[in-house]
C-alpha cells in the first residue's frame, strides 16, 4: 500500500513540476511565437500580393468585425494612405481546407493577386496550386472576371491533373469577392 | 529433351558367361561375426548364409572381406564357383499354389531368395510395373515380351498372396496391345507415357492415389513376379537377374548370375581412363568406383558414360528461374529447399516437405546453374533425420531431470 501511495505521489509531483515549467515557458514565448507565425506564414504571401506598399504590413494588421464575425485583414498603405487590403478565406480542396489570401486594390477595385497560406494537397499534384505559375493567373483581374477554371467556363488555367484543388482555390477567391465590399466600407470609414 | 524418353528396343537376351567367382554382399560390417560360414566351407545354391543373404552358386568360400559401395560399407563373401549347381533341398515346387496358405507361400518364396516384404497386411491395391522406369533401361519390357504367357497367372498369384482387391498392370503406351492381352480378367491396365519420370513407381502410385486417395498401395516389379512364378513352378531359387548393359560398343540385355562382379560383364579394355560407370539410371544411379561391385537383384542397368559426356556440376548461384519447381513431379519448391539447405536452415527445409522428394534427379538435370540439387536435398533429409533423433534425446534427458 505504501508503495502505491509513493508511486502516485512521485508521479503527481513530477507531472506537476513539469506542468508548471511548461506553463512558464509557454507564457514566456507566447507573443514571440505569434509574431513568428505571422512573419513566416502570412508575411511572404501578404508582401507578395500587396507588394508596392510602404508600411510594415504585418505590424499594421488589424482585426475588424463584419456582420458579427471577426476577420484579420492586412491593409497596405502608400504615403500613409491605405490603397489595398488582403485577407484569407478557405475552401475545401482534395485533401482538406485550402487557405487563400486574396489582395484587393481598393482604389481601382481589382484583385492584385493571391497567395496560398495553408493546404494539405497531394505533393507534386494538388500542391502545385501554391506555385506562382498557377497563382499568377489571378494577378490584376477585375472583380467581375469569371473566377472559375477553364473547364467551368472561367479564365483560370487549372493545374493539370489537379482540377479539384484548382476549383477550391477559385471558390475561396469568390468567397473573398463576396466579403470584399463590406471590408472596403470598413476601411474607407477609418 | 528426347534424352529422357524411355527407350524401346527389341533385343535378344544374351546369356552372360557363368562367373568363376561371385561376390555376395552383406550390408554393414557388424554382420561379419554372425555369419554362420567359414573360409573353405562349401556352399550350395540357395543356402541361407544370414537372414536375407543367400548363396547364388555352388562353390567354396574363398574369403570374407569388407568393401565399400556407393551407399554403404559391406561385408563381402567371395565364393569360387564349382562346375555344377547343387540346389538346396528346402525349396520345393508348388505349381498349384492355391493349395497352400499365403503365409506358407511367402515363406517358401523368401526361402528361395526372392526377398518379398513380410508385411502384407492392409494392402488393397497392388500394381505391377512393366514399364521401364528409367531411360536406357530395357529390362522390364524384355521381361514383358518374354513372359507374356505367364503374366495372367502371375496376377493371380500376387492377388492370392496379398489378398488385394485390385491388381493393376502399369505398361507403356506402345505396349498397350500386349498388356491388354495379358491382363485377362484379373488385372486392370494403366498406360504410362514413355517419358521419364512417368514410369517411376512413386508416380504410378500418385496416379492411382489421385483416383482413390484411400487406397493402400504396394507395387511389385514384373521381373520379381515372374521370378516368384518360376520358383513355384521349378522349385529352384532365384539366381539370375536380367540387366541392360549400355556400353560404348552397344546395348545388350544380359542374363547374369547374381553376385557376378561387373568386371565380368564390362571388359576392362572397353573402358578408357576417366569414363564413368553408372549402376542404375543415368538420373538416379550411383557412379561405380569398384569394378568388383556384384550384380544384385536391384540392378537393372549398367551404363558406361564416355569421358566427353561426363557432366561437371558448376554449382553457381541459383538464378531463381523456377525450372526445377516446374519439372518436379512431386511439387517441391526445390529452389528454396536447396538454398535453405545451403545455409543450413534445415527446419525450413522440413517445413517445405523435403521428405516428399523421390530423388528423380530432374531438377538437377534441368538446373541452368548446374547446382547439385539432389545432394542438397539428401543433405537436408539426412540432417532432419539426425536432428530429430537429437531432439528426442534432448527431451528424454529433460524429462529425467524433471523427474528427479
Amino acid at each position: 500500500m505504501k508503495e502505491y501511495i509513493r508511486m502516485v505521489v512521485v508521479l503527481t509531483v513530477i507531472a506537476t513540476v513539469c506542468g508548471f515549467l511548461l506553463a512558464a515557458v509557454r507564457k514566456g514565448t507566447e507573443t514571440r511565437i505569434e509574431e513568428q507565425v505571422l512573419l513566416y506564414v502570412q508575411g511572404p504571401a501578404v508582401n507578395k500580393v500587396l507588394s508596392s506598399s510602404t508600411n510594415d504590413l504585418i505590424q499594421d494588421r488589424q482585426e475588424i468585425s463584419v456582420q458579427g464575425q471577426d476577420y484579420l485583414i492586412f491593409v497596405g498603405e502608400r504615403n500613409t494612405q491605405p490603397w489595398a487590403v488582403a485577407f484569407e478565406r478557405t475552401a475545401g480542396g482534395y485533401g482538406g481546407d485550402i487557405g487563400v489570401l486574396v489582395g484587393f486594390d481598393i482604389e481601382r477595385d481589382i484583385v492584385t493577386g493571391i497567395g496560398i497560406l495553408t493546404h494539405s494537397e497531394t505533393p507534386g499534384l494538388g500542391a502545385r496550386v501554391s506555385e506562382s505559375i498557377f497563382t499568377d493567373n489571378f494577378n490584376n483581374k477585375t472583380l467581375n472576371a469569371n473566377f472559375n477554371v477553364k473547364q467551368d467556363g472561367g479564365f483560370v488555367d487549372a493545374v493539370s491533373g489537379a482540377t479539384i484543388s484548382s476549383r477550391a482555390v477559385c471558390s475561396a477567391v469568390r468567397k473573398s469577392l463576396e466579403l470584399y465590399p463590406e471590408i472596403k466600407k470598413e476601411i474607407v470609414k477609418q | 529433351m528426347d534424352q529422357l524418353a524411355l527407350n524401346r528396343n527389341d533385343l535378344q537376351i544374351i546369356e552372360a558367361p557363368e562367373p568363376k567367382e561371385v561376390i555376395l554382399p552383406l550390408k554393414g560390417l557388424e554382420g561379419r561375426d554372425k555369419l554362420r560360414i567359414k573360409i573353405g566351407q562349401r556352399l550350395i545354391t540357395g543356402q541361407v548364409l544370414y537372414p536375407g543373404l543367400y548363396s547364388s552358386v555352388t562353390g567354396i568360400v574363398k574369403s570374407i572381406d569388407s568393401m565399400s559401395f556407393p551407399d554403404d560399407d559391406y561385408t563381402v563373401i567371395r565364393v569360387e564357383v564349382a562346375d555344377e549347381d547343387e540346389f538346396d533341398e528346402a525349396i520345393k515346387a508348388e505349381p498349384d499354389f492355391q493349395g497352400k496358405t499365403p503365409a506358407e507361400l511367402l515363406e517358401l518364396l523368401n526361402r528361395a531368395n526372392l526377398g518379398i516384404s513380410e508385411d502384407l497386411a492392409d494392402i488393397d491395391t497392388v500394381f505391377v510395373t512393366a514399364v521401364d522406369p528409367d531411360p536406357l533401361s530395357l529390362v522390364y519390357q524384355q521381361v514383358l515380351k518374354e513372359f507374356k504367357a505367364e503374366l495372367s497367372e502371375g496376377f493371380k498369384l500376387i492377388k492370392y498372396l496379398t489378398s488385394a482387391k485390385r491388381v493393376i498392370l502399369a505398361i507403356s503406351e506402345e505396349a498397350k496391345e500386349l498388356g491388354s492381352a495379358a491382363i485377362g480378367d484379373v488385372a486392370d491396365l494403366m498406360l504410362v507415357k514413355s517419358q521419364y519420370p512417368n514410369g517411376l513407381p512413386e508416380l504410378l502410385a500418385q496416379r492411382i492415389a489421385e483416383q482413390d486417395s484411400s487406397a493402400k498401395l504396394a507395387f511389385i516389379k514384373i521381373e520379381k513376379l515372374i521370378s516368384a512364378l518360376t520358383i513355384l513352378k521349378e522349385g529352384k531359387p532365384a539366381i539370375y537377374k536380367l540387366v541392360t548393359v549400355n556400353t560404348k560398343s552397344g546395348v545388350n540385355n544380359y542374363r547374369v548370375r547374381l553376385g557376378t562382379p561387373i568386371k565380368e560383364i564390362i571388359k576392362e579394355d572397353e573402358l578408357n581412363n576417366n569414363d564413368k560407370i553408372i549402376i542404375g539410371s543415368p538420373l538416379r544411379g550411383a557412379a561405380c568406383f569398384n569394378l568388383e561391385t556384384p550384380v544384385t537383384a536391384d540392378i537393372d542397368l549398367i551404363y558406361v558414360q564416355d569421358t566427353d559426356e561426363v557432366y561437371n556440376y558448376q554449382n553457381l548461384q541459383c538464378i531463381n528461374c523456377g525450372k526445377c519447381v516446374k519439372v518436379c513431379p512431386v511439387n517441391l519448391e526445390v529452389n528454396l529447399i536447396c538454398r535453405y539447405a545451403e545455409f543450413a536452415l534445415f527446419e525450413r527445409c522440413a517445413e517445405l516437405d523435403v521428405n516428399a522428394c523421390i530423388e528423380c534427379g530432374l531438377c538437377a538435370y534441368y538446373c541452368p546453374s548446374g547446382r547439385a540439387l539432389v545432394q542438397f536435398i539428401r543433405l537436408a533429409k539426412d540432417e532432419i533425420k539426425q536432428q530429430n533423433i537429437e531432439q528426442l534425446l534432448v527431451t528424454t534427458e529433460n524429462s529425467t531431470e524433471e523427474d528427479q
Binding site: - | 550411383a286 523456377g322 511439387n331 517441391l332 519448391e333 529452389n335 546453374s369
Partner: protein, 318 residues
C-alpha cells in the same frame, strides 16, 4: 584404370545461365535493329554506352567486393541492353552511365548478385533516374530533330494531357509496327513480340506471366473503356503503347524478381496488368508499366507461397 565418380544425375539438359541470357539478348536484337534504323546513331550510342557501363560496373563492383567476376554469364549485358531499351533516344550520356550503374549496383549487386535481386534491376535503375531527373524522360522532346514519317508525339502523354480525342489519329496498326514515339526499343511493338515469342517457344521464359499480364491490361482497360469510351482509351491502344510489350516479355519475367509457381506467376501478371492501367489513368505519370512491375516485385515472396502441397505417398515395394 581411373574412373570418374560423381553424384546423380549423370546427365544434364545442357542449358546454362549464359545460354539463357544469350537467347534473351538474341530475342532483343530485332527491336535493337529497328531502333537503330529509326533513330540512327543516337540509338546506337545509348545502347552501346549502357551495355559497356553495365559490364564495367559489374567487373568493378565484383572486384571491390572480392567476389568472382561473372560477366561471362551475359546477365550484365542483358541488363544494359534492357535499360537502354526503355530510355528515350535523347538521354544524355551521363544519365545512361549513372542509370546503368545503379541498375547493377543498387538493383542487383548489393543484394548478392544474379538471382538475389528482389526487384527487377533494370527498373530499379530506371526508377531512380526517373525520380531524379524527370526532365530527361520527356519522350515528346526525345523525337525532336528527327524526320519521322509518323506522329512524333508520345501517345500516352497526349492521352494523359488531352484525353481520348487527342489520340484518335494513331492507327493501331502503326502502333503495332513501331511507328510511335517511346523508349528506344520499347516502341517497336511487333519486333518485341517476335523476340518474345521466340524465347517463349524455346522455353527460356514460361507463358504464365506474359499471358496473364496481357489479360490484365486488356481486362482492366476494357472495364474503363466499356464504362465510358469517350473518356478512356481502347484496350488495344493501351496494350501497344509505352513499355507494355517489353514489360510483358522481358521485364516482368525477370527470374529472380517474379514468382516461380504457376498460380503465383498468374496472379503476378494480372497484378502487373491491372496496376499498369490504374497507374496510367490515375497517377501523374503517363505510363505505369514499370512502376506496376516494381510494385508487384515486392509481392513476389508472398505470391511464392501459392503452392500446391507436395504429395507424400507411402508405398510399399513387395
Amino acid at each position: 584404370m581411373k574412373l570418374i565418380v560423381s553424384s546423380p544425375p549423370h546427365w544434364h539438359a545442357k542449358i546454362d545461365v549464359a545460354k539463357i541470357h544469350l537467347h534473351l539478348i538474341i530475342a532483343l536484337i530485332p527491336a535493337v535493329l529497328f531502333s537503330v534504323y529509326t533513330y540512327g546513331i543516337h540509338s546506337a550510342r545509348v545502347i552501346a554506352l549502357a551495355v559497356a557501363t553495365a559490364v564495367i560496373s559489374e567487373i568493378l563492383i565484383r572486384r571491390l567486393l572480392k567476389k568472382p567476376v561473372t560477366i561471362d554469364d551475359g546477365s550484365a549485358i542483358l541488363i544494359g541492353l534492357l535499360f537502354a531499351m526503355i530510355m528515350p533516344t535523347s538521354t544524355p550520356y551521363w544519365l545512361v552511365v549513372i542509370g546503368t550503374f545503379l541498375s547493377i549496383f543498387i538493383g542487383r549487386e548489393i543484394f548478392g548478385g544474379l538471382g538475389c535481386n528482389p526487384m527487377n534491376p533494370v527498373i530499379v535503375g530506371w526508377a531512380i533516374t526517373r525520380i531524379s531527373w524527370p526532365n530527361y524522360f520527356n519522350l515528346d522532346l526525345a523525337s525532336v530533330g528527327y524526320n519521322l514519317d509518323f506522329n512524333y508525339r508520345y501517345p500516352l502523354a497526349l492521352l494523359k494531357s488531352g484525353g481520348v480525342d487527342q489520340i484518335a489519329d494513331f492507327a493501331l496498326i502503326d502502333l503495332l509496327l513501331g511507328k510511335q514515339v517511346g523508349g528506344l526499343g520499347s516502341a517497336a511493338a511487333i519486333f518485341l513480340v517476335i523476340g518474345g515469342v521466340y524465347i517463349l517457344y524455346r522455353g527460356f521464359i514460361t507463358w504464365e506471366i506474359p499471358l496473364s499480364f496481357t489479360v490484365g491490361v486488356l481486362a482492366m482497360a476494357s472495364i474503363f473503356w466499356l464504362t465510358d469510351s469517350s473518356q478512356y482509351a481502347n484496350p488495344v491502344f493501351h496494350l501497344l503503347t509505352g513499355n507494355v510489350i517489353i514489360g510483358i516479355f522481358f521485364l516482368a519475367t525477370d527470374f529472380s524478381s517474379s514468382p516461380f509457381n504457376r498460380w503465383g506467376m498468374i496472379v503476378f501478371g494480372l497484378g502487373c496488368g491491372i496496376l499498369t492501367i490504374i497507374l496510367r489513368i490515375w497517377s501523374i505519370y503517363p505510363d505505369g508499366v514499370l512502376f506496376a512491375i516494381l510494385i508487384m516485385n515486392l509481392f513476389t515472396p508472398l505470391l511464392d507461397k501459392i503452392h500446391k502441397k507436395p504429395l507424400h505417398l507411402e508405398i510399399k515395394e513387395l
